[in-house]
Amino acid sequence: MKLTTGFIALLLCTSLLGGCAQFESKRGVEVNWQSTVTEQLVNGQSTRRDVLAMLGPPSQVIALDGESALYYLFEHSEGEGLVLILYNSMRIDTRYDRAIFFFDENDVLTEFATRLYPADEG
């Protein structure tokens, strides 16, 4: 009987000690490339100065033999976990908000693209 009681107590303790975890990690440049901002940009007219003024310093500058590209990246990870002592599970989702802008040798915008996940719109 003592053993049964001990076993039940152990089960109870294990249940009580179980828990959950949640975390969030954000890395990269501030997201300023919402569509309301980038719709002001026009291929063939806007310049690198315009883009830098709107979005700030990029994550990376890439030289392309006379041309150049500005790359903006914001990395957002969210994790959720279940901690049951005997069984532990963690799920981490990472999403990449990003924008890229190509400029010709005169620093005029030639192409650009942006991607923003709904959770980061705000």
């Binding site: 076993f7 291929n43 890439i62 990246l73 005997l86 599970s89 990472t94 990449y96 890229i100 942006t114």
Partner: protein, 198 residues
């Protein structure tokens, strides 16, 4: 209480006290499965409309390369330790990893026209191990750090401020966007980064 019942309870108790398992799931990016690779001579503007901004980019001698990727990594491990009984001198661990992913690489010429598109998908066993370790657990039987690290764009600014072996190899640094690109988990003991080992 019958002896068999006692035995069963003792076995269950031991199992509860001594073992535990962990599962980690990493999902990096979004799947590309429904996105077709663009046809040759597609313009850069059309490719960006279709796929959005790439996750990796680098200049090349003939133009530039863009890459999109999605990774799903699952790590399972089971551990057995006597620590819970006050005898923290022995532990046994088993772990394995499964890697699933997609990679799309597009090459553009200097006129911003697509010259090649290649795509790969994989669903592989990514390794694992077993260990019996007395007193201290030094070895992790599953290591996913090189697959889950942050994107290289975050390190771009510090690329020329590395320790000497890395700085000397700056022209071949794959994080600068000027010398090609590489997938996650590429071994660093061979190829362009081998000079950086110290």
């Amino acid at each position: 209480m019958r002896a068999s019942t006692v035995k069963t309870l003792v076995t269950l108790l031991a199992c509860w006290l001594l073992t535990a398992c962990s599962q980690w799931h990493y999902d990096l990016g979004v799947p590309l499965a429904d996105t077709p690779a663009p046809a040759q001579h597609t313009s850069l503007a059309d490719a960006l409309d279709l796929l959005g901004p790439p996750l990796r980019m680098s200049a090349t001698d003939t133009g530039f390369v863009l890459a999109w990727e999605h990774w799903h990594i699952r790590e399972n491990s089971v551990g057995f330790s006597l620590g819970a009984l006050g005898a923290d001198f022995m532990s046994a661990d088993w772990g394995e990893m499964r890697i699933k992913g997609e990679f799309l690489l597009l090459t553009f010429d200097k006129d911003h026209l697509l010259t090649s598109a290649t795509r790969s998908e994989w669903d592989n066993h990514g390794g694992g191990g077993k260990a019996i370790q007395p007193f201290f657990g030094f070895i992790s039987v599953v290591d996913v750090d090189d697959l889950t690290e942050m994107m290289p764009q975050h390190r771009w600014g510090s690329a020329l401020f590395q320790r000497l072996p890395g700085t000397l190899n700056a022209n071949s640094n794959l994080d600068t966007g000027q010398s090609g690109l590489q997938q996650r988990g590429t071994p660093t003991a061979a190829g362009q980064q081998s000079l950086e080992m110290d």
